[in-house]
Symmetry: C2
Subunit: 432 residues, 2 copies
């Protein structure tokens, strides 16, 4: 160890909201533990946020208050710029870039920033001999970035999957347990403060899509490509589908799946069915889960709190201690300058599908549906027809493995038969 390695590591923290205040609390509470584990003291030297006068439930009096994030990023008083503001443009982006240029390492919890600008930031970091760490950006307290970047370094990764937006999983599991429709539970979640200011980030699958893009880049050693993630939110998941899927032994989850195929990199974040008794199926409420499959290790499952002050701050501290210990990792597990952009492929890996539709009360209706599926090359594994309640009969179909194209084709053809009422619903059944 050189002398510099036993000097305090000086942090500048920009953003003192849920995560920022959580980080300050851990550093204050565990100063001795952190010093013992890091081999040197961890010191906060300067902080900033929008409102200097806001009461933040932590004592900030011994830290310098920087005028703004940019000033903090370039301050001589800090070694590491800790970006906990959020947003993929504006202050977060500018200050992060400025910090790297000024020779500071960066720690961030900002998945939006990384999903949109991760590759350029990684290159900028490399050009300046700096590191960017972001354990908190994906799945909160779960050590998924470290696991993928380090623990699985001896594996070719086959597939990464995850339930990574706690709010969506809360909404889906609450709909099922309380038997409530989407709109009601969405309103509940809003009132409980579970939703982002712009709720589409959560329920539209965008936040989870950001996280998937980050995991893909590490898993497959490819340039970040968030725009190529096929994203579908949970807005069209109905309580009906949740109940019917449960009848058939499945749960509906907003599931991210990334895998490299011969056609290119598939990245998809969408509501999927998973077996009710699988680890993913059993996930309740705001808990997150990431499943990684490697050629040597097989399947690894990681589970924990995906958000909240303590878990997210815990992940930030993992990065802090890592840098304090002198560990310097390439941003996405390999030098960014060597990464190529993977061919992006739409999902083509075959899977079983769940199809729900309503049959009109007409003779031969079911036969017509079956023949559309047959013509599309889809064979039926299981089918249930319920009674004609209001004149239409709900029908549930679980198909054998088939391609998304075949399903799209069948879904487009079905209304033309004239024997179904309303739009058919189709959901992929992911093998987990």
């Amino acid at each position: 160890m050189t002398a510099a390695d036993t000097q305090p590591l000086r942090l500048g923290i920009a953003g003192l909201g849920t995560v920022g205040a959580g980080v300050v609390k851990i550093i204050q509470r565990h100063a001795d533990l952190l010093a013992a584990r890091s081999g040197r003291p961890i010191a906060i030297t300067a902080v900033t946020a929008r409102d200097k006068l806001k009461n933040r439930d932590v004592d900030l009096s011994s830290y310098h208050w920087a005028a703004d994030p940019l000033a903090l990023a370039q301050s001589d008083e800090i070694d590491v710029f800790v970006e906990l503001m959020g947003g993929h443009e504006g202050a977060a982006r500018e200050a992060t870039e400025a910090a790297l240029r000024a020779g500071k390492d960066v720690i961030t919890a900002n998945k939006a920033l990384l999903a949109h600008h991760g590759h350029e930031l990684a290159r900028l970091a490399e050009d300046n001999g700096r590191v960017i760490r972001f354990e908190a950006a994906v799945a909160g307290g779960i050590p998924v970035i470290k696991t993928m970047t380090e623990s699985l370094a001896g594996n070719a990764i086959r597939r990464v999957m995850g339930v990574m937006n706690g709010t969506c999983n809360y909404i889906l599991t609450r709909m099922e347990s309380a038997g409530l429709p989407y709109e009601t539970v969405f309103e509940e979640a809003r009132q409980l403060g579970y939703l982002e200011a712009d709720p589409t980030l959560d329920v539209g699958g965008i936040d989870a899509g950001h996280k998937l893009a980050i995991l893909s880049a590490i898993a497959f050693g490819t340039e970040m490509n968030f725009d190529a993630v096929e994203i579908e939110g949970i807005e069209r998941v109905s309580i009906d589908d949740i109940n019917r899927a449960a009848d058939m032994g499945y749960k509906i989850k907003l599931l991210g799946v990334a895998q490299m195929t011969a056609r290119g990199l598939e990245q998809r974040m969408s509501p999927c069915l998973v077996p009710a008794d699988s680890p993913l199926g059993q996930l309740q409420g705001g808990t997150n889960m990431v499943v990684v499959e490697g050629d040597a290790v097989g399947q690894i499952v990681l589970r924990g709190a995906g958000a909240g002050e303590g878990p997210t701050a815990s992940a930030v501290m993992s990065d802090v201690v890592e840098i304090a210990r002198g560990v310097r990792l390439p941003t996405f597990g390999q030098p960014a300058s060597g990464l190529a952009r993977a061919q992006a492929a739409r999902t083509a890996v075959p899977a079983a599908y769940y199809i729900r539709l309503h049959l009109a009360d007409k003779p031969g209706a079911l036969a017509k549906v079956a023949s559309v599926l047959g013509d599309a090359g889809i064979s039926i594994d299981r089918m249930r027809q319920y009674g004609h309640g209001d004149g239409t009969a709900p029908v549930l179909i679980v198909t054998h493995k088939t391609t998304p194209e075949a399903v799209d084709h069948a879904i487009a053809e079905l209304p033309k038969t004239g024997v179904i009422v309303g739009e058919p619903v189709e959901l992929r059944i992911e093998e987990v």
Copy 2:
């Protein structure tokens, strides 16, 4: 990066059995991937095992064959000594010590060695400015050492739990699914090659106890103290108890629990009941699971293959890439020279208990049992008495939370009532 950091990292591998051959295969298969991730090539320069002529299903022709582990450990051709022989004395210990003295870093999968001599080895490594890494030593492919040492560095750890011997979990889950007695499944496991040469290491809980001692040292920042682990194997778990526990909503697992209490460090590896629907309860076959609870992160659950060629070699490769990247961590997360031996405490944390006994067909028998429990200060949560089949009536009791001392006392008193037949069985119900 200095020039030395882009030179190949030269490994000497001692032990070419299941794990050693697995490591060689990964290095041969993934040379490019490993170089990209490590920033430098990974090279095997020399190897050794007992029998040079044995066919090992890998091409070793380009590596120097060292005469013995000690010669390999001291060879000028290697930077890292990879110990994959096993055993806590003899060649593994001597060569590991020699490697550290000769200025080599060490990677090992040997939990026995670490549990018995980890503290001295960590001090020896520090004195020589070397590192010892051992991801493969606990829970195979699951990245538990890295998670505890690095990812949770911002947490005071409250409790660590784990099912960490796949053979025991295989035996227990197979007993349940096939309805077979312990002895039969034990024989099956032996024939399948699942048992160590000395099976007490597995079924006696010793192997899992080694792993728990390693996790405790990291979790609580204390000197390794394997001798203080309270160990009980699965030999006395009967198919009866497995079935009865299932009736009450529980599974029986060989569960390790370490927690720091006001009285000292409790470390226990023993058959316990866990709720059937908890992540631990749902664990089937050889899969391992580790649950860590930290003050900031809450509960983290890690699950994966606990043994086998691929998963274990994957963990070894995590250490290889870590060292290749220039990462240098203190053996148990803090400098060993600063660690204190924790006061060892026998388990005193209260828990609910499962008690099974057989009542003689005598009037007032159950009342006598209840009064023994009451006198011991134990209150009953749930009780089931089954019919008098062969003259005795099985009785199952789930107690409210009580202390192990109270249970021990009651178990000692029960036979004195003269109303029970045979020995009562008692198992702890761990809150998970």
